[in-house]
Amino acid sequence: MATEWRLELVLDIRFESCAMRLELDSRARALAIVGPSGAGKSTFLRALAGLERRARGRIVAAGAVWQDDACHIHVPAWQRRVGWVPQDALLFPHLDVRRNLGYAHPDVGEVQSMAEWLEIAPLLARRPRRLSGGERQRVALGRALLSRPRLLLLDEPFAALDRPLRGRVAARLASFCAERDIRLALVSHYEEDVATLADETWMLAGGRLVPLQAQSVAGGEQPRGLAAQTRNAACPALASRTRTEP
């Protein structure tokens, strides 16, 4: 039976030249964060994962307090059951694809089915440096899914995939997450990914999170306008430190 899911957070993140105050309360199964480059979308995902030391405040997921600085609570990343898929995949370079996939749970059967599911089965013996960008992203996705996460954090997960493959993987991912009751937080510049995966969309710009209508994002009208309006509000400190954000 699906557990009652609710993600609540109030976070202050201070950088040398700017600050963010993120407030969010969502019951969505899949949440998309859109916004201009350098707005802090990747930082938001890192804060959810418990990796952003500068984030101060409170995060509650499905009733469990992950962070509450007022009470000195900080559940470490390895206890949150979040699967983080960074934009540049960050596959472990000393492990082949098979061992990357099975890093958290080296179950041979599960690794094989995941590889087939992501269309990377012929690559199992390869080292990451011999993979294309799209192949790396799929391996990173499979590695995160095989860690049996409660919340999957996807940072531009399909940016390097061609359009037909992106559609197939996104559709499969949506049904996989629905079957296993995995919640999603997605950062993407691709409206199709947002439309396929997310049932709630928030705009992050000027250091604030603002809820948007999912349909508007899919239609592409409002976010484009908003993104254009808020482009200059991006935090320069974030733009320079988020190495891979396009």
Binding site: R46, L51, A77, V82, G83, W84, F92, R129
Partner: protein, 231 residues
């Protein structure tokens, strides 16, 4: 002074170098990690202290070590009570060479820690693997060639060590007379030319071999982290 035996000096140098590489590893790892990854008050001071044997005259370093470890030294007094006497022993030769090689050892390991993207470790944490196991499964295997390169540098530095060893360990045949000390001894001996030549050849071979190994390990480290020249 007894004549120096080249074979014994080479064997002793190899032993000193290997012990330096092995015994210095925990300290070099800890210091390299601290200096690369952590911010704390006194970090600059620690960095300076680690590097100081590089710029201090080796004889001065040896003198300071002798002050610490001698019968009346801060540590030496406590060791004497326990029945341990360090100066003018093989252990003293290892210790002197280890202190002199530590800056290079730490520098090499600090460099590889700085080259490693900490997000690899963060990914591992989010996959449910806590830091200690992440260190064993991700950090250490990724940095192994670089750590090996650091150990090789420390080994090579130990082969060339002279001043600090002479002060702390003396020049005792078969116990502390390493290659450098043996060459120094033979320079004053009337029939030492042939033995000196052997020692010089041995020294050249060992040094060049160590540096070649260092270069190969450094290249392997760059490949492992998927870095290219200029990255």
């Amino acid at each position: 002074m007894s004549p120096a035996d080249p074979a014994s000096a080479i064997r002793l140098s190899l032993q000193v170098g290997l012990w330096c590489a092995v015994l210095g590893l925990p300290a070099a790892l800890a210091l390299g990690w601290l200096l690369a990854r952590r911010s704390f008050p006194g970090k600059a001071l620690l960095g300076t202290a680690v590097l100081s044997p590089l710029v201090l005259p080796p004889v001065v370093t040896g003198f300071l070590l002798l002050e610490l470890l001698g019968r009346r030294g801060l540590i030496g007094r406590a060791l004497e009570v326990a029945g341990i006497h360090v100066p003018f022993t093989f252990a003293a030769a290892v210790l002197a060479a280890m202190v002199m090689g530590m800056p290079l050892y730490v520098f090499a390991i600090r460099t590889v820690f700085e080259a490693l993207d900490p997000r690899y470790e963060e990914v591992s944490w989010t996959l449910g693997v806590p830091p200690r196991r992440t260190f064993l499964r991700v950090t250490l295997p990724l940095l192994l060639p670089g750590i090996g390169a650091g150990a090789t540098l420390a080994f090579a530095r130990a082969l060339g060590e002279f001043g600090a060893t002479a002060v702390l360990a003396g020049n005792v045949e078969g116990r502390t007379r390493t290659i450098a000390l043996a060459v120094y001894t033979l320079l004053g001996a009337p029939d030492g030319a042939r033995a000196t030549r052997w020692l010089v050849l041995g020294s050249l071979a060992l040094s060049c071999g160590s540096l070649a190994a260092y270069e190969a390990l450094s290249r392997w480290q760059r490949r492992r982290l998927e870095l290219r020249h200029g990255d």
